[in-house]
């Protein structure tokens, strides 16, 4: 189904946006051959029952996919983490928001590839609506020192005068590519 970590992450961020979040914090860190990520939103949150069902691969709240009742985001994350001996933690409070954290060894045979991180951030930043988002990306270099960059949706949107037309998105892609190369 999903091929990369970028796919899993964009799915989870999409969940946050769909939950009506007005602010989403996204973190992605590669360190000591572990990959770690965290998505925190202030969306509608889930009560225990909903969270339990969200873990079920054969359940989706039925509002979205007229053709199917199967959600894949969270169960797929669990399955991926399990198959490469990693961990997932989900905290959610109804009416407050949700936090999803996961970690696994990057060099595990069954670990998914990282995927296209530049495209991932472009996608995360261009969902419809006026939400805020802060992205923090950290990577350990060859000498063991970590480098990181941050992207703030309000800031880039302001610099580009909106994130609508392909001209702005093209420049956004160039911008993120340069940040990603810098820590590469």
């Amino acid at each position: 189904m999903h091929a990369s970590l970028a796919d899993i992450l964009s799915d989870l961020v999409q969940n946050s946006i769909e939950a009506g979040a007005t602010f989403v914090q996204v973190e992605l860190t590669e360190e000591d051959s572990q990959v770690f990520f965290r998505i925190q939103d202030n969306g509608c949150g889930m009560d225990e029952e909903t969270l339990r069902r969200a873990e079920d691969p054969f359940w989706s709240d039925g509002k979205k996919h007229p053709g199917r009742r199967v959600g894949l985001g969270i169960p797929f994350l669990r399955q991926t983490a399990e198959q490469c001996e990693g961990q997932v933690e989900i905290h959610s409070v109804l009416g407050k928001g949700t936090e999803v954290k996961a970690q696994w060894p990057q060099n595990h045979l069954d670990a998914p590839p990282l995927g296209d991180i530049v495209l991932l951030w472009v996608l995360c930043l261009t969902f419809e609506g006026g939400y805020g988002m802060n992205i923090r990306r950290t990577r350990q270099g060859g000498q063991g020192t970590s480098q990181s960059y941050a992207i703030d949706r309000v800031e880039v949107s302001e610099a580009l005068g909106g994130l609508d037309d392909a001209g702005a998105l093209g420049l956004l892609r160039e911008y993120i590519t340069s940040l990603e190369e810098e820590i590469g």
């Binding site: 799915d11 979205k64 996919h65 495209l119 261009t126 419809e128 392909a166 998105l169 420049l171 160039e174």
Partner: protein, 130 residues
């Protein structure tokens, strides 16, 4: 590539806008809406979207608006892409992978001709209403 700052990003955007004004493409904007439901993504919607962004940028077609939307309820035809522009009927394309996306840019956006093999005409919508 040298590291870009928010300042350089802002500057590039100003230059880009000036270039557009000189060419005066008017406000005939083209809208491309890519269905990014789970099925769409699994079937390659991200790659298609990336092609639209790349092509529009390198061809300096800055009057193009590229948007992602959620599930369109058309699993079997994913990835789906809707194209709206002056002088052409609003068109829904199905099974748009990276190659088809490129074809849509060249044929539909620039050539004013539908990519017939991939035009999808909403029969599923009526079925869902039942």
């Amino acid at each position: 590539m040298a590291k870009m700052t928010l300042e350089s990003l802002r500057k590039l955007r100003v230059e880009q806008k000036e270039a557009i004004e000189r060419r005066d493409t008017g406000d005939k904007s083209i809208h491309i809406i890519v269905g990014m439901g789970t099925c769409g993504i699994a079937a390659g919607a991200k790659e298609a979207l990336n092609v639209f962004l790349g092509e529009a940028y390198t061809r300096k077609m800055t009057n193009v608006v590229v948007k992602q939307t959620g599930c369109m309820g058309l699993c079997h035809a994913e990835p789906t892409v809707e194209v709206k522009m002056d002088g052409m009927p609003d068109t829904l394309y199905g099974k748009v992978d990276a190659d088809v996306a490129k074809k849509i840019v060249e044929q539909h956006l620039l050539g004013g001709k539908l990519v017939n093999e991939h035009v999808f005409d909403y029969p599923a919508r009526d079925i869902h209403k039942e």
